[in-house]
Symmetry: D2
Subunit: 259 residues, 4 copies
């Protein structure tokens, strides 16, 4: 097995940002109860404005690790620079490179020198070729444990935050050997679109999806318009379980706790 | 029931252009055998260059009608101007307004004065709001039998012909009462993407899809890179039949002829 | 001399729409006093919504002709369909095809059969190649008196109405023999950008510009955020007169009336 | 005087990359002879593919400094990461942040803590607001010596490398207090468009332009399709000198050497 089990539709879930011990432990419990194996949570947040909430930093990193460990989950968080890379790599299981850093070539080379799987998000203005070239920077460092993630591109349509380019999935899978997942939360920016878009990702052949889930979306410190509540997340998982066999994918069962 | 049965996932299929009696009758037979109820075929073709094949015109229109009738199908073809509208409306069951004419307001008003259902394709640069405003021109004429069709938007990505905006489906269904279908053939321009994108359309909640099917794709006079053969179309229909119940949709059964 | 004097920087000016006899005569007087030779004014307006002001129609057409004649100007207005083409062609000197009709091939063929110069505006999502192919539809009808007009393309930037693609000018002039002008009013949608963008058009090599001018911009029935007052228009003309000789272009002198 | 003399139209010129001692000294001599005061030259190159030429690194940095010093010029080069920032800041006069790093927030904070002027290039998918927010990251570090640079955005048009958004200049100057320059070389990717686009930049109100100039463009190791020869650069400077007074700008005189 590589970095992801290709027979499964792998769900990565959790809050946009780690906000408190209570929040991340609640999120970890809820997603573990759904059989999901990877917990996401931002600690160092790349915010468009320097005056927006920038994440809990090192403290958040510790909380993410502890919450994941308590529920037998793997953890993933975003790496924003080479300075904090070693620290982050020592604490989490998967490193995330965000859209804005997709062509931060120094950072790509640096994560290429680690032994950690890397989730590489497509920049919202990158062509497929640009994304694959960026992945080559990681490969050039010796690390081939790469997961590509389509998360919406910039277009003229203002209704959604970005425009999910669902065709990216089959094309990228044709052009490379890496698993390809989708982030419907950032792509749409709208909670009510997350479930239909995740089902579309499953149908089109994606290897998984990364979903924002929060114990209390309306109180989230960032991206609250796009997070699912635990109840909404459970319904999404049920829909995925129903559809997955029709495209030849396995899905984890949820436990009684998730009901 | 309105213009489409909303419990079904309605497939509209046929060649890009009517090319000969043999071609359109073969196509009609093949799609009828799959249980599909609507035959498409261009007669007056809007080609980017005036020197490209422009369609069979009036003769094509008659062949389309006869092929549809012979197999108990409804027919649809594109209307390009007010001059030919009455003629076309007398021969086919559904009128199609193409992307390039989505804001041809004179034509929209004219089809609004007919009693025929209108399939309105989104321009490749129209926002959702623009598309809904265009539909209002038809409604203003007294015709509310409208089907909206997402067929890809223009972005910076050169790999696909256009970029299918799958989010258009749930958003348009939220904003209006018209059925919404998807055209994966024009959106991608690539045969091998048609099946995954049609499944994504079903998964995301579309009411149907319009698919280019040709007896011999490699010999098609237009858009041959995006047409399905009868065999590929049969496999697509099988995949749709498998997935449809998981999203609460019915699909027509195929007959023994389609095997 | 062809359709435009290529040694000059040709300014076409006037209101977005003909609104009243007083308005269009005032506008004609003001632009004539600046030495401008072509009066624009919409009579049949292509509005995104069917419930917006649609123009004065036939009455507007007569007023436009009379106002132009009274001041020795040529006139231009938009043609929206084949039905009204003969009427319009009998009343104005130059026919305009708007962005939304750039690929209305039936209309292109029809104006190609007239003897009138045609101003063809680039669709906001057309490539240079698409625009040149559209011009070929007019040429195919026998009419080579074509003026191309860049008027902004659709991008992700929301600040301006569209994004003026200034590079279109030198590229189109390289690829074809038609004069190329710019419409900074529609491109930007903002009065205060019209002067700098028109100067940029002159500097980049455009053969002219089409400018919205209104006796009372704040009271205009359409596009009031982008119209110049007579005073602002005079200042623009003065700036053009100052710069034109440095790029080898002539500009008409204004009369005492314009001061 | 701030980071740039706002009465002048400031030209920054030089090769895409420092390639050899001979090349950068020749370039420095040629641009100094034109009265240009700032020499550009990439040393650490952000290339889309890891297998493309990556620059001469530390050696290139020394050559750039020596060539600039020999001709009384200021120097500018791109900073790609925090690791090499101190080294680069000790060798050059102005730091450049490239498009791909416009939202590399760690790097923005780091250059904000230096005392060097920073040229911040707009990402090819950044809105004006995104660019201004990125500048705030530098300001937040205490450094307000910022120059903004428009260098083309990504659109659907394939003819040019990017689409120069000339409207960015007047809008950014309205929204902030920083000087705004244009990079026509990267925007168009085509040598023959550099002169018209630079004149458009001057006309629209830009405070300067950054131009790729190479002793032998056809032999350049990167971006050879967009570099000017010394002769072409001299003609551009002459055109700028002719136009500049008409928009109230000064331009440096060239010396006899440049003839």
């Amino acid at each position: 097995m590589g970095v992801l089990d290709r027979n499964e539709f792998t769900v990565i879930a959790g809050p946009c940002a780690v906000e408190s011990e209570e929040q991340i432990f609640q999120a970890a419990a809820a997603i573990a109860a759904q059989g999901v194996g990877i917990l996401r949570g931002g600690c160092f947040k790349p915010r468009t404005s320097p005056y927006a909430f920038q994440g809990m930093g090192v403290v958040g990193l510790r909380l993410l690790r502890e919450a994941a460990k308590a529920h037998g989950l793997r953890s993933i968080t975003e790496v924003m620079d080479v300075e904090t890379l070693d620290l982050i790599a020592s604490q989490v299981d998967i490193l995330q490179i965000g859209s804005r850093n997709m062509q931060n070539f120094s950072l790509l080379r640096a994560v290429g020198r680690t032994q950690k799987p890397v989730l590489l998000k497509r920049s919202f203005s990158a062509t497929y070729r640009d994304l694959l070239d960026a992945a080559e920077y990681i490969v050039a460092g010796g690390n081939e444990q790469i997961i590509l993630c389509e998360r919406g591109i910039r277009t003229f349509e203002p209704f959604t935050r970005n425009t999910l380019d669902i065709s990216a999935v089959p094309v990228l899978k044709e052009l490379c050997r890496f698993p390809v997942i989708v982030d419907p939360s950032h792509a749409s920016g709208l909670t009510r679109l997350v479930t239909p878009l995740t089902l579309a990702a499953l149908a089109v052949g994606a290897d998984g999806a990364m979903i924002e889930v929060h114990p209390c979306p309306e109180g989230a410190l960032c991206d609250k318009e796009q997070a699912l509540s635990f109840g909404q997340f459970g319904e999404l998982m049920d829909s995925l379980r129903l559809m997955a066999p029709t495209v030849g994918r396995a899905m984890p069962l949820g436990s009684l706790l998730a009901r």
